[in-house]
Symmetry: C2
Subunit: 227 residues, 2 copies
């Protein structure tokens, strides 16, 4: 697998997941747009990926990953997000700067390295941008989490991840010190507009419905009786 091939597979998977209409095929131009290349270059690469049975590509009809292609893509996303976690958690780089570095590190091939890194980081479920890290079997975590808009007043939760992370949202969360892993208590959910009032380490903060609707949380059974 070359670096370019891996990058194409990753982009195709991300486009499949982001697709409006489910099961719609990814198009040549979509890929070209994301990879920042010409559609003709994409066509060339698709032929090669088809040859290797990594994509199901039909001329003029679009692309879909095969099982093998999906597996490769998930592995690459896993490597990317584990490295980002390492760079932020261990080396103290900012989440704003780690992406291009992880974009290179993700292409280092070593199963043992990946296992040890995962262990070293404590098997994280989310990267510093709040994006879920696929596990060794390629399963995405956080499917058992709920959005903060479904939260109940009086209960305790852990902040797990972010649905569609954007730089502005991440900066906002930085500012109000709501970090992944934070445990908080829901004081109130305003019925009128869905805004959420929560308490965290003694401090109170308010989130609008739109923000709460991007945050993945999990009920914290252990802290349930904290009130």
């Amino acid at each position: 697998m070359t670096i370019a091939e891996e990058d194409y597979l990753k982009v195709i998977l991300k486009l499949e997941l982001a697709q409006e209409e489910l099961h719609a095929r990814v198009t040549t131009n979509q890929v070209a747009e994301v990879i920042q290349t010409k559609p003709s270059s994409v066509t060339d690469m698709l032929k090669r990926l088809k040859e290797k049975s990594l994509v199901d590509y039909i001329k003029y009809k679009g692309i879909k990953l095969t099982g093998a292609g999906r597996k490769q893509a998930l592995c690459l996303i896993r490597r990317h997000r584990l490295w980002e976690t390492f760079l932020v958690e261990k080396l103290g780089l900012s989440w704003k700067t780690v992406h291009p570095v992880a974009e290179q590190l993700e292409h280092v091939h070593s199963d043992e390295l990946l296992e040890r890194l995962d262990e070293f980081l404590g098997h994280p479920a989310f990267d510093p941008h709040g994006e879920p890290i696929p596990n060794g079997e390629g399963k995405l975590p956080g499917c058992d989490g709920e959005l903060m808009t479904t939260v109940k007043a009086g209960k305790n939760y852990t902040f797990m991840g972010i649905k569609e992370p954007t730089d502005t949202l991440l900066s906002y969360l930085d500012k109000i010190k709501l970090n992944i892993g934070s445990i908080f208590h829901v004081q109130d959910v305003e019925a009128y507009n869905g805004s959420v009032e929560l308490e965290m380490g003694g401090k109170v903060c308010f989130l609008t419905y739109d923000v709460a609707n991007k945050l993945v949380v999990k009920v914290n059974e252990k802290h349930e009786n904290k009130n």
Copy 2:
């Protein structure tokens, strides 16, 4: 800088340093041998590197790195050895397995990453194979160290690095638990054959002249009066 270009520069530097006759030019075949490629491929690459002023290459006469080329090569060696140190010290991989992984990691470009990694590792001077790690300015450490054959009985030393590391030597040192950074006391130096007797953590061990002659050590002033 492509990965191939970087690898060539690194190999050329290593050949220059290992050269018997000082100032002799590195040859096309030497490079081909190490890179495991054909001499004609080396010639092609040398033309490209010359074009970029990274090597001083004269047809049929051999190669020498320019200042810029040497700087690049030292930077690559620095990255390689810092990553090897990380893999062994932090992730717990064996020094026997880290080389091919570092061979990939060394090509990740990020000045900030490199600085932070160096800091995270505590600015190590030697990698897990006992090879010196060039500092940010490309200077090699350990030039102030001495070989263990020049050691004096009754003094304390720190084991700094290895002159020409081989797998068998490293395995031997592993076995007798003589690790880089170890502090030891020289009990005796046998005048007859130059073998060294040293004490380390209560245990005594003997080294032949040939082994001692590969080990770089530094007098440990602070422990001088330990006797």
